[in-house]
């Protein structure tokens, strides 16, 4: 047996680098969860900080889901908050309607997640259809348009329930409810009295689940096909990769995950409304900032960036005013340093000089 080939025994014990990387990511999340859960249970965490835990999970899930589109597929989506919006509204609607029908919380909540994921992935397929024909800037602007359309639609929609069933209308008077009727979705006032089912534990389980789905997808044959589309679309197409299929797949999975994040979000609030900051353009950009700062295509980076960048301004109140200004500057600088011709050359130069010095040392060693 030659030196380079490890023995079968050691090969069994050796984890693949990708698996190792993923395990580290899981470990970080688990440690984070264990730490803060213990602090909460023992009463050592201030209430103001406790209330940050579920939103952190929401943001982490959103970042992981967007990274699948931007980092892995290489297409920019500016309407990701739209999928979250659909999930939030479908989930809340379901929970409010069935609150008395299904008294067991976890059954109802699981069903709400499933339903929201299905609804959001249908939206993902719908947005996927224009995606098939577009790429780059056009795709980005269509996703943006799509997010805004969803936000406008939920703001004019009224849904009520009475003994005859559901009534849908564009105005509160158009519902024509019977005496026993009740309006569930009230246009711009949204849905109120959603049961507060979201807990840090459920958030943690969802984060782990979405991490598991995304990391395993990336490590599969499908994932490699998706990344080949990102790296060179024409080459990928020429070796027979069905671009349409994979793009649609990514948008669907990513939308379903974002929909679940929406359910987590809406069940953490007593009243749900849609505005620019939670489901509009601003939210989509915020998530994009997490993904870019965490590193495009790096799932672990997204998790850490989302958690830190969400919590930081909440912890440092004085920073809140300057938060977006600082983030925007970081966004620009990161892009220029990572992609600008000057910095790429500089980096190559540094790498070359490093390599040269290594070679020199090696030569000296050999000479000695």
């Amino acid at each position: 047996m030659s030196k380079n080939q490890p023995s079968p025994l050691s090969q069994k014990k050796q984890l693949r680098p990708v698996t190792k990387k993923n395990l580290v990511t899981y470990a970080i999340v688990i440690v984070f969860f264990a730490l803060f859960q213990t602090l909460t249970v023992t009463g050592n965490l201030k209430f103001a900080y406790q209330s940050l835990l579920v939103p952190i999970c929401t943001n982490v899930i959103m970042a992981v889901s967007l990274n699948l589109v931007v980092g892995v597929l290489g297409e920019l989506s500016l309407g990701h908050a739209g999928f979250m919006c659909i999930g939030a509204y479908v989930g809340s609607f379901f929970s409010v309607v069935t609150e008395e029908l299904i008294p067991v919380t976890w059954v109802r909540f699981t069903l709400a997640f499933a339903l929201a994921a299905i609804a959001a992935s249908i939206a993902g397929i719908l947005i996927g259809i224009p995606v098939l024909r577009l790429k780059g800037d056009y795709l980005a602007i269509v996703t943006l348009a799509f997010g805004e359309i969803i936000k406008s639609l939920v703001n004019v929609l009224y849904i009520g329930k009475d003994s005859n069933g559901f009534h849908v209308s564009m105005s509160s008077s158009g519902l024509n409810l019977l005496e026993d009727g009740e309006v569930i979705l009230k246009g711009p006032q949204g849905i109120s009295n959603t049961p507060k089912d979201s807990t840090f534990l459920i958030g943690f389980i969802l984060v782990m689940l979405s991490l598991f789905i995304v990391t395993n997808l990336m490590d599969s044959r499908t994932g490699r096909a998706i990344m080949s589309i990102r790296d060179n679309r024409i080459a990928a197409e020429s070796v027979g990769i069905n671009i349409t299929k994979y793009k649609l797949l990514v948008f669907t999975i990513s939308a379903a995950i974002a929909g679940c994040a929406g359910v987590l979000y809406s069940h953490n609030l007593s009243s749900l409304t849609a505005n620019t900051n939670n489901f509009g353009y601003n939210m989509s950009i915020m998530v994009l900032v997490y993904v870019v700062l965490g590193g495009l295509g790096s799932i672990r980076g997204s998790v850490i960036a989302a958690a830190v960048l969400y919590a930081l301004p909440e912890l440092l109140r004085g920073l809140a005013d300057y938060r977006m200004l600082i983030y925007s500057i970081i966004l620009i600088v990161m892009m220029i340093v990572n992609n600008g011709a000057f910095f790429l050359k500089l980096r190559a130069k540094i790498a070359q000089s490093f390599r040269n010095s290594l070679q020199k040392k090696k030569n000296e060693k050999e000479a000695a």
Binding site: E75, I141, A145, L153, M324, N338
Partner: protein
Amino acid sequence: MKFLSQLISGISLGSIYSLIALGYTMVYGIAKMLNFAHGDVIMIGAFVVYTACVTGGLSPVLGVLLAIVVCTILGVVIERLAYKPLRAAASLAVLITAIGVSYFLQNMALLVFGSDTKQFSSVVSLEPVSLANGNLVITGETIVTIVVSLIIMIALYLFVNRTKPGKAMLAVSEDKGAAQLMGINVNGMIALTFAIGSALAAIAGALLCSAYPALSPYTGAMPGIKAFVAAVFGGIGSIPGAMVGGILLGIIENLSKGYISSQLSDAIVFAVLILVLLLRPTGIMGKKINEKV
């Protein structure tokens, strides 16, 4: 009469969209990038006019001229600092940078001017014209907007097609490498495009805030995105396309506000964009570009 008045205010709004869309389409044509920050240059322009006229007491004409100067410099500086280093980079990187610039301008304005909405005083002092026994009233802002836009579009059309720098711009947008070999200063032409686009944005900002007198750091974002829709509608890269697309979009928006639902007008505008891109991705007047391997 309602239809006619909706139509006229639609054309007026559409002319503003056209002015903004011209900036988008020229930059897209020459630098092949979507300048997301264009909408926020409009907002900066409007704030300059506001500061100069309301706070500083300058005359409206001087205020608008000052805004044009400030925005032109701003456009060139943005191009030089943020976009020029990324000229050869992937479009995703450029797009994210542009979003960063857009957010930077918004938050800068937020810190400097505050988040409260300011009452913009109109730069137009023309009396409204009353037609058909007072059934149809056309405001001075509408008339000035349409006339100014028309003059600018004709001037721009002549500049691009008849003058040497204009033709050089066309050449650069056609083929950068060949243009450089012919002795055209490509970087200079790109800077010139940003300068013209930003100057138009300043005028658009003054006109927009005269017609809809509420000014906040977020004023520019939505018209900016809609103007991009207009540019795509008309065929991105095409100057006449941006004019036609802008006016059509303004009419569609105002008619849907008047006859369908004012809350849904934005959704309708965006639905138009998705439909256009699905049915005719090159827009009304765009050229089809074949992909080379």
